[in-house]
């Protein structure tokens, strides 16, 4: 069993976690009141039903994700929670929200056996039939045992009843939705794919008696319908978390406005949703809010809640609750794990977040017995660098492996539910990975643009098309668009290798051949392992922006450091899809030492490597050998490591030259001038630039 002090990052979907209710009680109350108000209004006065918006701001580690888990626990089956985080390379749309809502409703609520989807539908049906919403299961049994005609009559009566009260509902969507609890498993899977706004395959469409997936014009009406039905019993709470990831590093406000448009659209035209936005307070105040117009602000900031930091009493309650989770033989009396002095300091120190306190507890609890009073390292005021750069590298590697494992689990769960990876998610993963490639700029998908991403390199631009479609017609349309684009610029079209085009998709096969035959176009099938890596790198960068990555000493890992580590350690340029993308975009793979000569004017095809570009860990070519002579062995070692602690450079240098000393290595490094960059005194980064 892991220690309660190790869970510094709350799990939004956890069912068993430490909770001190006095912490953030006001914010919890506000959201719970909003949920109750929506449920009551939908039953009593449907005409007055509106959506509500709450903005929650707090520093990293103040408990935003914990708040989500707490609300889920408190509401149980009485509300459905949807967690949305911004994709790095695509703008949020109502279709994403619809898909996320339908996915969320397929979860089982905390402490419940039925899927929330069934509860939503059955409660609405029971209410319309005048049976009250309390016994949906009994109603389900009744419905299932009823003859088919009777069942259909009831469903059509329900559709009419709802359409009467809410004329804005989308009737075809509503009919399919209400029929879900009594549908056979394959029909249900097909219906769920269509209802979520995703693309059903041709068999599923046939099963549903439909010709095409949910059209764009029906997405918002579908969302309206879902919100209204759910409001009867299980209002939907859409939580937009980690909104700081909307900020564009290059200063553009396009993604912020896209988010604002989405929230404004949901707030104005969808009734019965609780919209909760969560962001780091400083990022929101300084970089997101200034981009809003007054009308956007009035909707997005309709109600603002600043998360409270724990008071001394709450800190004591937190520590007590964490200790209560330890095995009885490991528990000690107060003020353990601190000494009296330390505890007084932690109780009264300003600006302490629950995460800081947990990390301090962890550090203190791991000290050897009897060392308590002598060790001052756990005092809040002692700003010591406790983690060496090597340990940070190890920690980042560990986080990376954790992210990959989580992504694998997530993908396996999606596969079990028959859900393919959404094209936007794959494109975002690719976009995130490409951001780490030197000399590449990525333009996310914009409305009315055919491509999913545009890669802007040193040479020409490349359009990326993610062809994840499940229906031959739309796959053909996407291939056609890629083919047309290949007339103007380089094109990279890709699809998961786990979902190849079925042999019966003759037209798609032909189009694929035609596309591949074009000199400008590349077709890439993304292997499952690379899919995991792409999605994991997206999560890694998002978490770094949200300051949710912490070292073993509990200090947040700076975003810049995470980027540098990812650039130097993940060998992203060697991932097959990335290699294909950057070779198309004529990006010169990050060279060991930049030359001042302009890029070669030769056409990209000539420079395109026939094999994936070499790993950023440098092979010793002639250029590198020259630099080695010029700058010494330490420089070569650093060129290979890219980012390392001085200690490590010394160690690696000594492997090759046992006579090397720390002083000689430092001298060599200092002689490199601007070719390297120092992060403090202990970490050094190879810039690749020449003096």
């Amino acid at each position: 069993m892991s220690s309660p002090f190790d869970r510094e990052h709350a799990d939004a979907w956890a069912s068993d976690f430490v909770d001190v209710e006095s912490l953030n009680a006001r914010t919890t109350e506000t959201i719970l009141r909003s949920i109750d108000a929506i449920r009551d209004t939908s039953r009593r006065d449907p005409d007055d039903l509106r959506s509500r918006s709450v903005l929650v701001l707090g520093p990293a580690g103040a408990g935003k994700t914990h708040l989500f888990a707490r609300l889920r626990k408190k509401c149980g089956p009485r509300a459905a929670f949807v967690l949305m985080r911004p994709e790095i390379s695509s703008d949020p749309t109502p279709r994403h929200v619809l898909a996320a809502c339908v996915d969320a409703l397929q979860r089982r609520p905390m402490g419940g056996d039925e899927r929330q989807l069934d509860i939503v539908i059955l409660s609405a049906l029971a209410l319309l039939e005048g049976q009250g919403v309390k016994w949906p299961n009994a109603f389900l049994d009744e419905l299932r045992s009823a003859p088919k005609d009777e069942r259909e009559e009831l469903l059509s009566r329900a559709v009419e009843g709802i359409a009467d009260r809410y004329p804005e509902v989308n009737l075809p969507w509503l009919e399919k939705f209400l029929a879900l609890p009594v549908a056979a498993a394959p029909d249900r899977r097909a219906a769920l794919t269509w209802l979520s706004g995703r693309e059903p395959d041709s068999t599923q469409l046939e099963r549903l008696g439909l010709q095409e997936p949910l059209p764009d014009t029906s997405v918002l009406p579908a969302l309206r319908t879902l919100a209204i039905i759910a409001a009867y019993s299980t209002p939907i709470v859409v939580v937009f978390d980690q909104l700081e990831n909307l900020i564009d590093d290059e200063g553009g406000a396009g993604r912020i406005h896209a988010h604002a448009r989405l929230i404004a659209e949901l707030f104005d035209s969808v009734r019965g949703l609780v919209l909760v936005q969560m962001a780091l307070d400083a990022e929101w105040v300084q970089r997101i809010r200034p981009a809003f117009s007054a009308s956007e602000r009035s909707r997005l900031e309709a109600h603002v809640e600043a998360l409270e930091l724990p008071t001394p009493a709450a800190r004591a309650a937190l520590v007590e609750a964490w200790i209560g989770r330890l095995p009885p033989d490991e528990r000690r009396g107060a003020p353990w794990p601190f000494s009296t002095t330390e505890w007084q300091s932690w109780m009264n120190a300003p600006g302490v977040t629950p995460r800081m306190l947990m990390i301090a507890c962890r550090e203190a609890s791991r000290r050897p017995e009897g060392a308590i009073d002598e060790v001052a390292a756990c005092l809040p005021g002692s700003a010591q660098e406790k983690e060496t750069p090597d340990e940070r590298e190890d920690r980042l590697r560990e986080i990376w492996e954790e992210r990959r494992a989580l992504t694998r689990t997530d993908l396996a769960a999606a596969q079990d539910d028959g859900r393919p990876i959404d094209a936007e998610r794959l494109a975002s993963g690719l976009g995130a990975a490409l951001k780490l490639v030197h000399g590449v700029r990525v333009e996310p998908k914009r409305t009315r643009q055919p491509q999913d991403l545009r890669i802007m390199g040193a040479g020409r631009d490349t359009d990326v098309f993610v062809i994840q479609h499940g229906h031959p017609r739309s796959a053909c349309a996407a291939l056609q668009r890629a083919k047309s684009a290949a007339g103007d610029r380089a094109v990279l079209a890709l699809r998961e290798s786990a979902r190849p085009f079925p042999p019966t998709w003759h037209r798609a096969g032909e189009l694929l051949k035609e596309l591949s035959s074009q000199s400008n176009a590349t077709w890439s099938e993304v292997q499952p392992a690379e899919v995991v890596d792409l999605l994991a790198v997206h999560d890694l960068l998002s978490l770094a922006r949200s300051q949710d990555l912490t070292g073993r000493d509990g200090a947040p890992l700076p975003e810049e450091l995470v980027h540098l580590w990812a650039k130097s350690s993940l060998e992203i340029e060697a991932w097959p899809t990335i290699a294909a993308a950057i070779s198309r975009a004529s990006v010169v793979s990050e060279a060991p030492v930049r030359t001042s000569s302009p890029p070669s004017p030769s056409p990209p095809e000539e420079r395109r490597p026939s094999t994936p570009p070499s790993s950023p860990r440098l092979k010793e070519g002639s250029g590198a050998a020259e630099k080695k002579l010029e700058a010494g062995l330490s420089a070569t070692v650093l060129m290979k490591l890219r980012l390392a602690s001085v200690d490590r450079v010394v160690r690696e240098t000594r492997v090759q030259d046992p006579k090397a000393t720390r002083a000689s290595v430092l001298k060599d490094l200092r002689a490199l001038g601007q070719r390297i960059r120092w992060l403090g005194r202990a970490i050094v980064v190879w810039n690749g630039g020449s003096r």
Partner: protein
């Protein structure tokens, strides 16, 4: 040459400026800040292209200005709070003349209502007229006003009876009766104490603390957060930076303010960081939140 002829159109197009230097935008910002509001047509003497105009408005919006009707203005809320900073009590009727860029009376009323609801200002009566007072002003609670009203009624009753002409001789009132009526008025004494008469000396620390909390009340935005460097700069002329930082930490210890760690990614400049107190492990505390008495009393309330 006719007015609409291609030659004239071309010359007009040439006159339009395609981009503004950041220093020009700074000038415009200073003007708007000084005047409170400037008509859009008078923002910039140069004629701008549509793109340049859009960029100008965007950068003004990023600097916290808003466009309303034909004005670009400092948000009304900010203007009113700045006014309250200078004059703690303002007649409501005079407010429209004191601030610039008001589009309609309804808008002004809405903003005033929002400011009052957020606790940044209080609506008070003075000489029978509505006034707006700073959020930090000490005012009577509703219960106290009820008591005041009842005392007033009783006093009025006694006074009327004493002055009645129907009595045999002029009437008076027993002092002990008056004392009994006024004994219901302990809050009056408290109110007098809270006015802090000039003769009564406060300790330096208390005075600094009060100034800090008042400034936080004035500067806090709709999310109830105050950017600490802004607060320090607002008080720097009256108190030294060191005293302010010390008072901030004292206010945090006394649970009057909550100091919050910086959570921006590279948004805090070194100059701003130097104006922030430090927390555990040297973390910069760059935001403050006022703790209202009701919030701290709630303490262990569960939701």
């Amino acid at each position: 040459v006719a007015a609409g002829s291609p030659a004239v159109v071309a010359s007009r197009t040439k006159e339009r400026v395609a981009s503004l230097q950041p220093s020009r935008v700074d000038d415009i910002e200073r003007t708007v800040r000084a005047k409170g509001a400037v008509p859009v047509s008078k923002l910039c003497p140069e004629r701008l292209t549509r793109n340049a105009e859009a960029r100008l408005h965007e950068s003004l919006a990023q600097r916290g200005f808003e466009r309303a009707g034909r004005f670009v203005r400092v948000p009304l809320e900010t203007q009113i709070l700045a006014l309250l900073d200078r004059r703690p009590v303002i007649p409501l009727q005079a407010l429209r003349k004191e601030i610039a860029g008001v589009v309609s009376q309804q808008e002004l009323r809405r903003v005033i209502a929002e400011i009052i609801d957020s606790g940044h200002a209080k609506l008070v009566v003075r000489n029978g007229k509505d006034h707006l007072a700073a959020g930090s002003a000490t005012v009577l609670s509703q219960a106290e006003i009820e008591t005041l009203s009842s005392i007033g009624a009783k006093l009025s009753q006694y006074a009327r009876a004493a002055k009645s002409k129907r009595a045999l001789r002029p009437r008076s009132i027993l002092r002990e009766d008056l004392a009994e009526i006024l004994s219901e008025w302990p809050f009056a004494l408290r109110a007098l104490e809270q006015r802090t008469p000039p003769g009564r000396a406060m300790s330096h620390d208390d005075a600094h603390l009060e100034l800090i909390v008042d400034a936080a009340a004035r500067l806090e935005s709709s999310d109830s957060l105050v950017f600490v460097p802004q607060l320090v700069r607002a008080l720097q002329k009256r108190l030294g930076t060191e005293s302010i930082l010390r008072a901030l930490l004292t206010a945090a210890m006394g649970e009057k303010l909550e100091l919050r760690p910086e959570s921006g990614v590279g948004t805090l400049s070194p100059e701003d960081a130097a104006l922030c107190p430090r927390g555990p492990n040297g973390i910069v505390l760059s935001y403050a939140r006022r703790i209202r008495p009701t919030a701290s009393r709630r303490g262990g309330a569960s939701s």
